[in-house]
Homo-oligomer: 207 residues x 2
């Protein structure tokens, strides 16, 4: 597979975010090569059936490099999702209502914001389901360790606390229904439309 500069294909996501602490030039080059190779292999063969060896080989990089940078397969998947996830988080933190808080004098009910979150999260998760699933399940308990889970949980807790007693606990329960493993099974058994509806039924019940 010729990956010379001339034939290099653009990855449509901005995947090569540079970490603040100085990164060596060769390391940056390899990070980009790995993410491009992974995106391409995942797209063409399916996330499940691409081995880390295959990614390392396609990227022209050693396995040690791959694992040092991304920790494991879940970390690699998370890196590929990073931008999309960040967009969603930004929209929640500072975007327009009802997903975000809206402008100064906007008033949206917590319930509206909960449903808006459910919709936006499902848009995100369902359109990259196998990647999200990989990022959550490749390592045992990975889902609950990554920062994103904490973010979603804080957001839901904040909204729920305005109308129920134990918002914290309820937030965990609602997030359980948004887990990729569960979403995958739901989509397979009842389809996207009903799976989406089921989430809204649950979120409605929680308020």
């Amino acid at each position: 597979m010729d990956r010379g500069p001339a034939g290099r294909r653009r990855v449509d996501l901005e995947l090569m975010r540079t970490p603040p602490p100085k990164e060596r030039a060769d390391a940056a080059r390899n990070r980009v090569k790995v993410l491009e190779a992974a995106a391409e292999l995942f797209a063409s063969h399916g996330v499940e059936s691409v081995s880390m060896d295959a990614i390392a080989t396609a990227a022209g990089v050693g396995k040690g490099t791959l694992f040092r940078r991304f920790k494991d397969k879940a970390g690699l998947a998370a890196a590929l999702l990073d931008d999309r996830e960040r967009d969603l988080q930004d929209a929640i933190l500072s975007g327009p209502a009802p997903l975000g808080p809206g402008l100064g004098d906007t008033t949206v009910s917590p319930s509206e914001r909960l449903h808006a979150f459910a919709d936006a999260y499902l848009d995100y998760a369902l359109s990259h389901l196998s990647l999200v699933r990989m990022s959550e399940t490749a390592a045992p308990g990975a889902r609950y360790r990554i920062g994103a889970y904490g973010f979603w949980h804080r957001h839901l807790t904040m909204l729920l606390d305005q109308s129920v007693d134990d918002g914290d606990a309820l937030a965990h329960a609602l997030l359980a229904a948004l887990g990729a493993e569960h979403l995958t099974a739901m989509v397979e058994s009842i389809g996207r439309k009903r799976a989406r509806a089921a989430v809204h039924v649950l979120f409605e019940a929680a308020t």
Copy 2:
């Protein structure tokens, strides 16, 4: 699950038309040896850190035997849980109220039965958490394929349908909060007591 044909009855309806599939003596012996070895190793070293090789060796059996009989590590865990799980299912189907239907003229509200189910299921799952987790997560999507999931789901659906619209979908959502992976994370982060309370909050909200 795999308890062999010990309880099978021969049905002589007609001629020798039915070839009786019988378990060979050596196979039965090995099944017992494997289950005993697995139970002991799991108890002493923890489910996660016992390899299938180790179990095969301890049981004095080849790997092929192990995998043919139990399919994979999830299947082995499920076999070890079989009795407990069956007890719970029996109690639900024909035990005393509020967990079971009770005697003829007993009347228990669906809500009561839902909470009784939550309690009983948590008793079961929390006291064998790592085994349950193994049975659900060793293979991807294993949880939703095993028969037990269908059983819990049908039971919840039946109860929920008496008070809400889409009981089926809601049942899936409630079960998501009972997944071993989720329970493990909850117990680690907020402890058994609050995790249990969170499940009840959710079940309460669903009715």
